[in-house]
Amino acid sequence: MSDIKIGVFLCTCEGEIEKTIALDVLAQEASGRPGVVSVRKDSCLCSERGIGAIREDIDKFGLDRVLIAACSPAMKTREFTDLGINKYLVERVNFREQCSRCHPDNSENATKKARALLGMSLEKIRYSKALEPVTVPAVKTALVVGGGVAGINAALDLAGAGAEVFLIEKNPHLGGKVSELHRYYPRLCPPSCGLELMFSKLESNPRIHVLTSSEVENLSGSPGNFSISIKTTSSDAIKSPEKDQVRTIIAGAVVVATGWEPFDPTPLTEYGYGRFEKVITNLDFEKSAREQGQFLAQQKKTAFIQCVGSRDERHLPYCSDVCCMVSIKQALLLKQANPDNEVTIYYNDIRTPGEYEAVYRQARASGIQFIKGIPSELRQDARGKISVSVFDLIAGERTEFAADLVVLATGMKASRGTTQLKDAICLATNKDDFIESHLQCHPQDSQREGIFTAGCCRAPMDVSRSIESAGAATAKALRYLQGEIAVSPDYPVVDILKCDRCKRCVEECPFKAYSYDDKGFPQVDILKCRACGICMGGCPLGAISLGELSMEQLSGMLDVLDKSYLGEDEPVVLGFLCKNDAYRAADDAGLEGIPCPSNLISIMVPCSGAVNAMIISEAISKGVDGILLAGCPDKQCHYLQGSALAKTRLADVSNKLKEMYLEPERVRFASISRDDPEKFAATVKEYVEELKQLGKNPLRIQ
């Protein structure tokens, strides 16, 4: 360590930072610190001139570590990444957002805090290591599970982008639910024309291998090189080989398109499905319309009941997305075939977004009755007619309708295929049994790297959106189909000299990235890993460190922090802030000039779950007055269970403090959203006040 050469660069940010922080004093002090060989102050480090100056110093002094005290590390990342030195040897100190900007009126304290931050970063950078991206070879083959409209389109798109594609389907034929439909909406054209085109494209593409009557048995390996065993059961289908053949496919990425199943309305006994012949589902309607030439024209009085089973807490709690348009489409077809048909749609809310609104309007114009009100019960009279009695909420009175045919607009539920596959390849599903994804930002991802979803296995959606989702899944999958995959070296490394093989990391990893090596030590699959550090936070022996933030760095920073940097009577709060939410909120508090006590020293961590209880205990032992662990609100955690685990671990420390006759309030968890700087500032303020009441940590050395 003695021969390291650190260059310290202080940015005045066109004088702004220097207005509050005595940079010259800090520069003077820094130059005397071990390892520091150069100190430079600049008015704008991120400018071309500033970058040039850094590069110049690196050459001139032979610097192997660069410390930049300027704006938040979340800013100007591009400018400070390529300095002609490994980017993991560049450390940023947040002098602007979390120092000068948030304490503009207290130059003295801002400088004290800046000094503390600089000291910690100087310690941290001593342990930094140069890291290079790792390249992993990958095959250029993709697997698509499910031969419905989503799966077929994903296969075509993937093959179009140059990949070899295996498309497997558990039924003997392709086409999925779409092949059971009579007409598409909104154009009311027959699905057969689109399907035939897709089939012929599949046929003619030599890169696509279709396996029907086939199912996934299991999946192992990692993205780029999944090994999937596939069982093919019968021999009667096109292109399908021999009976009960099991084969292994190596694939770089998997697109899951296992589709949906119709909700069976039998449990809603009030509608008599199965008891009354003339009560059918919307999918029964499609079948009859397709198979019986006169079906549409024969109907005279038809009722549609919307939301059967959907938006129903007893059955499917969600809106099934398509049923409104399906009923409108079917009603229009009836009306076209027989304009005298008194078609009535009983609805709760009609949901026809975008272009579909025009179809809804067309339906209204065509004379289809829309009645707001859901029948509670259907009764069959002696002539076999179905009497529909409903309270019309708009008219404010009851209306009766004797229907020849009642169509129940039933929704979509997760398919059995999805459930089977989820077990075979360990995919997480949501409470409604659809494949779990970060619906907001990464809808096409599953919770396993390299496995993507298309179509209704993710959520109910119609044909056009299924096709669209197939394209999105393809675009995401292509990263794993380029022959090689570059992985950023942020992933955790297990020190097997310390590891006791307790398996906690294996259990707690939200992405199931850990497996065991041949000696039983945990090893991380860097392709599955998302570098959240939850394993680092959970390891009871502190044996796991991330590439960009190690346990020894954290411990070193605790050592050098002056626990009385604001004076003996001021409490010091150490904040571990998650980089996605809390740290950014803290930055915003600074940018917006929301005053925040200078008692908080913050350390950016990838996730609140990455902070080890040993680090927290150590901070308390070394005299820090309070620990603020700030992460995302539970359901918004970018790493699923990071916040939740962090809370549990913090509760353990809190219990321990109580046993030690220390105040359990010395550790605190706060949920801070990215967009809530006010809450951040208020939380810190309140906590500092509380700690003042508690008094000094008895373990702080005088």
């Binding site: 308390i620 030690m660 373990l699």
Partner: protein, 108 residues
Amino acid sequence: MPVYVVKDKCDGCKGKEEPLCEQICIGDLMTLNSDTGKAYCRSLRDCWDCMSCTKICPKGAIEQRIPYQLGYHGAKLIPMMGTDSITWTCVDIDGKVERFSFRTRNKH
């Protein structure tokens, strides 16, 4: 006077095979109850009160009952581990609290 496992806190080290207390116990006394998934000491009288298990337990679930030669009922000895330090809290039978921090050789 041996160790005492607080069952609510113990999580069996999640791996459900060999918990840390089992691995570290020099007398091979600690083990997992496969029914409850919680650790226990299978021979209390053989415990030497070395407190290795107390120190290593990540959940703080193992307490030490101080032998009467050293303390007596009511006295407590509680370790808290950092990465390179340990802090002991000693409570005597009169409730007097003293704390000691030491560097350990665990570091790096």
